[in-house]
């Protein structure tokens, strides 16, 4: 067993930095949105930061992920650039998708992120396909599909898992069970004590983990990734967590209670990990402060530069639909 992250100064700091980058990025988005400076819709993952942060640490840079409508965290954790992300959300030509995709379609092929997806469960078969590709090309790469609990009601989820299981593809299905698919509680929807009970039906290993426990998420993901890389096939992971904000901007939170939300705010994965590092004597309060400052500065710069970038250009829309033949 390697040193726990909480006792490893560099990794602990890196983990905190990633979690704060996600949190601050989304707070900035929320703010810009609230002030009418951002367009479209948004799905915030505030409260869920430990899952992508830990999971992506278990992946190599050239491993693949597919992400969801609630994808900022996945994208950041896999290594994307905050400025280009922010530029995308601000509909700028310098954004990851040249302002054509927005929050729901950010991808960063450099870091193996095959894209957020506006379609619930849409990324699940795509991740399995990336895993098939890696297997056929013999590269040893692994694919990880982030998806929500709600996604498990979709045929796309089922078919992606069926094919991955049959071919024992190097893929990890990581369900962020934040207890709701929009307003539908996963408890009510799926009739199961834990969603990982589903895995047995596909003949693949399944495990449930506290999604707000960074180390625990890392451990199960690392094990699953290793299994995948060694030809052991897919794994299903359920990471239980919670989104503090509404599903999207239109959510009035009628389907859950104030108390429930408050209870989960007390389980803040960032605060929890900060406390753990301090208790372990790995980082000092000053170290924590330094990380936070660093991220705040980084983010301020990213927003400023993104804002200053040129707006997305409409001139070549028709020419952008198809890749050029021979390309």
């Amino acid at each position: 067993m390697t040193t726990p992250i909480v006792q490893d100064r560099d990794r602990a700091r890196e983990s905190l930095r990633t979690m704060w980058r996600i949190r601050r990025f989304e707070e900035a988005v929320e703010d810009l949105y609230g002030r009418g400076l951002m367009h479209g819709t948004m799905h915030l993952s505030i409260g869920q930061e430990a899952v992508p942060t830990a999971a992506c640490q278990a992946l190599n840079r050239d491993d693949y992920i597919t992400s969801t409508h609630r994808g900022h965290g996945h994208c950041i954790a896999k290594g994307a650039d905050l400025e280009r992300m922010m530029a995308e959300l601000l509909a700028k030509e310098t954004g990851y998708c040249r302002g054509r995709g927005g929050s729901m379609h950010i991808a960063d092929t450099e870091t193996g992120n095959l894209g957020a997806n506006g379609i619930v469960a849409g990324g699940v078969p795509i991740a399995a396909g990336a895993a098939l590709s890696a297997k056929l090309r013999g590269t040893g790469q692994v694919a990880l599909a982030f998806h929500g609990d709600g996604a498990m009601g979709e045929g796309a989820w089922h078919e992606g898992v069926v094919l991955a299981a049959m071919w024992q593809l190097p893929v990890v299905f990581l369900c962020e069970n934040n207890l709701y698919g929009m307003s539908m509680s996963s408890e009510r929807a799926f009739n199961l004590p834990q969603l990982s009970d589903r895995a047995k039906g596909y003949g693949i290993p399944g495990v449930t983990v506290d999604g707000n426990d960074l180390q625990a998420v890392y451990d199960v993901t690392a094990e699953a990734v290793e299994r995948a890389r060694n030809g052991g096939g897919p794994t299903f992971i359920e990471a239980k967590t919670y989104r503090w904000r509404g599903h999207s901007k239109s959510d009035k939170n009628l389907y859950r209670t104030r108390e429930e939300i408050d209870e989960w705010r007390l389980k803040d994965p960032i605060v929890r990990f900060e406390l753990e590092t301090v208790e372990a004597g790995t980082l000092s309060e000053a170290d924590l402060e330094a990380v936070r400052d660093e991220v705040r500065t980084e983010l301020r710069g990213a927003v400023q530069r993104a804002n200053a970038a040129p707006d997305a250009r409409p001139d070549d829309l028709l020419a952008s639909v198809y890749a050029e033949v021979g390309a």
Binding site: H39, G40, T41, G101, A121, G181, M184, Y255, A312, L318
Partner: protein, 330 residues
């Protein structure tokens, strides 16, 4: 006749749902977040509190399953109304829509009916990008066995939905996200708008504009601007795409001899391709003094950036410009 009531398109849909459910025990609604949440666009609103969980049913995120359950319920004596949260997700349900619901009556030799209503909001303009902004009505109108309506006003939203619920066939109702919050005058009570009857919303002698969905109000707005320039347009709203009221459209086109077809959907094989084809093979053809002109969405996925999104589909100015050119050049 009772007095008209001003309400939003979305309220009009909700009123139709309530009226149908109150009058007919067989009617129920199911879909994602239609219950407590009140619907992603707030259309079902408080219906769950008025009619109960059994009749306003929250589902899992399973579009194919939802429509499939609708088909099964419709075949066995119920009148299900299914909400697909964004019309883009009908792609998930396409087998149950096109291969099951549409074909069962014919394929089974008439032994069974499938009185299923599918409501799905389409259209762009909300910054939701390519997977949440399509106008896919042409897919459905291409499949025999489906009826397709596309209300452009609050009264039509109510009246067409009431007719759809009573229809013994599967009916797809394409609502429009941008219209939900617009207001209009609505006839009170259980007042239907017949399926298959176009509405002439304005008359003018210089050209005939045929427009659907959100492009109806844009065309009417454009017609006022054109009128100020001395160009008078007729505006026809087919309302039902399938079965299509070709008679009204042809008659109105013959009157002016010039036709501008306006749709939000991408141009290629959009609904107006069919209208153009009908006009070019019927008696309208010989009365046309100008080539038919289609004004449609660009053949691109809807982009996220607001200025790009606007550029992707016909706006009032585009309609004015196209109409002006048509009248001036021919």
């Amino acid at each position: 006749m009772d007095e008209l009531v001003t309400m939003t398109y979305s309220e009009a849909v909700r009123e139709a749902l309530a009226i149908a459910m109150e009058r007919d025990e067989r009617v129920f609604i199911m879909g994602e977040d239609v219950g407590t949440y009140g619907g992603a666009f707030g259309v079902t609103g408080d219906l769950i509190h008025r009619l109960g969980e059994d009749r306003v049913r929250d589902t899992t995120i399973s579009e194919l399953g939802i429509v499939g359950l609708g088909v099964g319920a419709a075949m066995t004596g119920m009148r299900p109304i299914v909400e697909i949260q964004f019309s883009d997700f009908t792609a998930q349900a396409m087998d149950q829509i096109a291969n099951q619901a549409a074909k069962i009556h014919f394929m089974l030799g008439g032994a069974v009916n499938v009185p299923l209503v599918i409501r799905a909001p389409g259209g762009s303009g909300t910054g939701a990008a390519a997977q949440h902004s399509q106008s896919l009505e042409a897919w459905f109108a291409h499949i025999p066995g489906l009826k397709v309506v596309m209300p452009a006003t609050a009264d039509d939203a109510k009246g067409l939905l009431l007719s759809a619920i009573d229809d013994p066939n599967p009916v797809i109702v394409i609502e429009h996200k941008l219209l939900y919050k617009t207001s209009g005058e609505v006839r009170p009570g259980d007042t239907r708008v017949p399926i298959g009857v176009a509405e002439v919303r304005r008359t003018g002698g210089d050209l005939t504009i045929v427009a659907t969905g959100v492009e109806v109000s844009r065309s009417l707005e454009a017609a006022e601007i054109l009128a100020a320039e001395g160009i008078e347009a007729t505006v026809v709203d087919p309302r039902t795409l399938k079965p299509l009221d070709t008679e009204t459209i042809i008659a109105e086109v013959i009157k002016t001899g010039r036709v501008l077809l306006v749709q939000e959907a991408v141009k290629t094989l959009g609904f107006m391709s069919e209208v153009a084809a009908v006009l070019s093979e019927t008696e309208a053809f010989v009365h046309l003094r100008a080539p038919i002109k289609r004004l449609a969405g660009l053949d691109i996925p809807i982009p996220y950036a607001p200025q790009l999104e606007r550029a992707a589909v016909p706006q009032v100015d585009d309609i004015v410009a196209a109409a002006r050119t048509l009248v001036q050049e021919w």
